[in-house]
Amino acid sequence: MKLDNKVAIVTGAGQGMGRAIVQHFVDQGALVYAVDVNSDAVNTTVGSLGEQAYPVVCDITDESAVKELMQRIETEQGRLDILVNNAGIGSVDGFLETPLETWQRVLSVNLTGAFLCSRESAALMSKAGSGSIINLSSTAAQTGEGPCHYVTSKAGIMGLTRSTAKELAPGGIRVNTLVPGPTDTPMMADIPKEWMDAMINAIPLGRLCAPDEIARAAAFLASEEASFITGQNITVNGGMAFL
């Protein structure tokens, strides 16, 4: 299978895309550390996956907690092959009414969390001289459709990818971004129906993305099949925007 014997971290594993990625990676033979701040949610994710997935409760914005997670993985597995920076939050805020706290909170989880997990993972991966990091951006970063904090954080992810891809390539670590279009996840539940209808109308394939379709793209990028692919933004958006 594509990910046999690979050790992976998936953040934001408690729901939506993260849950689908954990399940698919386990199906493909990986051993997955499923990370989330919500212990009930992450326990539900790993519930039926047996010994191939460990639930980890960790706040990825907490530097020492992230370091602790890496130490644990190094002790238990001796290596790390894959990191999926999927954890993300958002809320519906008009720009003029966006509280500073919300702005800081979104950037902290979506961008600083990805930075911390990338830095600490890359340190562990570079000991083996190989690894694959997959960052989750959003079509919103291309189109500007969405609240300012979320769009900014997701555009930042693309910069993080390009910079780290270049710097880590000589060390055998590949870094790529998946850019999903609107995906059928709990995060979308709060979006007003008119927005949703307008969004679906703008998608040539005429439907939302299924979380598993993101998971399969992530598995491809994580696998040896993508061995010459790094620094890329790969759209999974039903044709709604080109990059």
Binding site: A169, G181, A217, F220, F228, T230, Q232, N237
Partner: protein, 256 residues
């Protein structure tokens, strides 16, 4: 485990060597019935023989992609014989080098016939053949189609055309569940680059500019085509996937 391309019929142009041959072999490994198309019979026969020795299903058609009726006729015949078409890989290429200031109009046009007209002819026929059941078209562009390349102005323009043509095709094909995506190879070890890469200095200058510090292998391109052609990419259309060791993400590289 079910193979990823079981029951799929695939047509690969320029299938006798390099990326096309590697793609044909990889698609067949995953269960597709693959027809390779090209100008010269011998290499096509070899690819088909390799696939059959591995237990796969394959056939070949000799046709020049720059000859509309021969190429489209071959696609039609294959669809008729094998019962449809699920995957088209427009990989055939023809180009010439030369200083822009000295380039004849004829040479300029020669960069477009196989690459742009051929991609259009193949995609148009595929959209007709795939209308009922959907399908996947994968067009092979080049990093030259994203960045202009000296002494390859015609090729750079033609490959840029392939990229944007594919986006338009994706938008139009989506309603029939016909996906169209682009693979953008960087420098890959193929017969087309053999001349350049056989010079040590040229090779070292080339790899120095690639963050991964090596050129790509045809098999690495084949895996990207396989992914986009497979149902694993069911929500991916109009996308470009660069397989270039990070070359395209690199604005400059400090020289040592």
């Amino acid at each position: 485990m079910t193979k990823r391309m079981e029951n799929k019929i695939a047509f690969v142009t320029g299938g006798g060597s390099g990326i096309g041959a590697a793609t044909a072999i990889r698609l067949a490994e995953e269960g597709a019935t693959v027809v390779v198309c090209g100008r010269r019979e011998e290499p096509l026969k070899d690819v088909v023989a390799t696939i059959r020795e591995n237990g796969g299903r394959a056939d070949y058609r000799v046709a020049d992609v720059s000859d509309e009726s021969a190429f489209v006729g071959a696609m039609d015949a294959v669809a008729k014989e094998f019962g449809g078409l699920d995957v088209l890989v427009n990989n055939a290429v023809a180009f010439n080098w030369g200083a822009l200031a000295e380039m004849s109009t004829e040479d300029w046009h020669a960069n477009f016939t196989t690459t742009v007209d051929g991609t259009f002819w193949g995609t148009r026929k595929a959209m007709q053949l795939m209308k009922e059941n959907g399908g996947a078209i994968v067009n092979i562009a080049s990093i030259c189609g994203v960045f202009g390349t000296a002494w390859m102005s015609g090729y750079s323009a033609a490959k840029a055309a392939v990229i944007n043509f594919s986006r338009a095709a994706a938008s139009e094909g989506a309603v029939d569940n016909i996906r169209c995506n682009v693979v953008i190879p960087g420098v890959v070890e193929t017969p087309a680059t053999e001349g350049m890469l056989s010079h040590d200095q040229a090779k070292s200058n080339t790899t120095k500019l690639i963050p991964m510090k090596r050129v790509g292998h045809p098999e690495e391109l084949a895996n990207a085509v396989l992914f986009l052609a497979s149902d694993e990419a069911s929500y991916i259309t109009g996308a470009t996937l660069a397989v270039d060791g990070g070359r395209g993400s690199d604005l400059y590289t400090a020289m040592d």
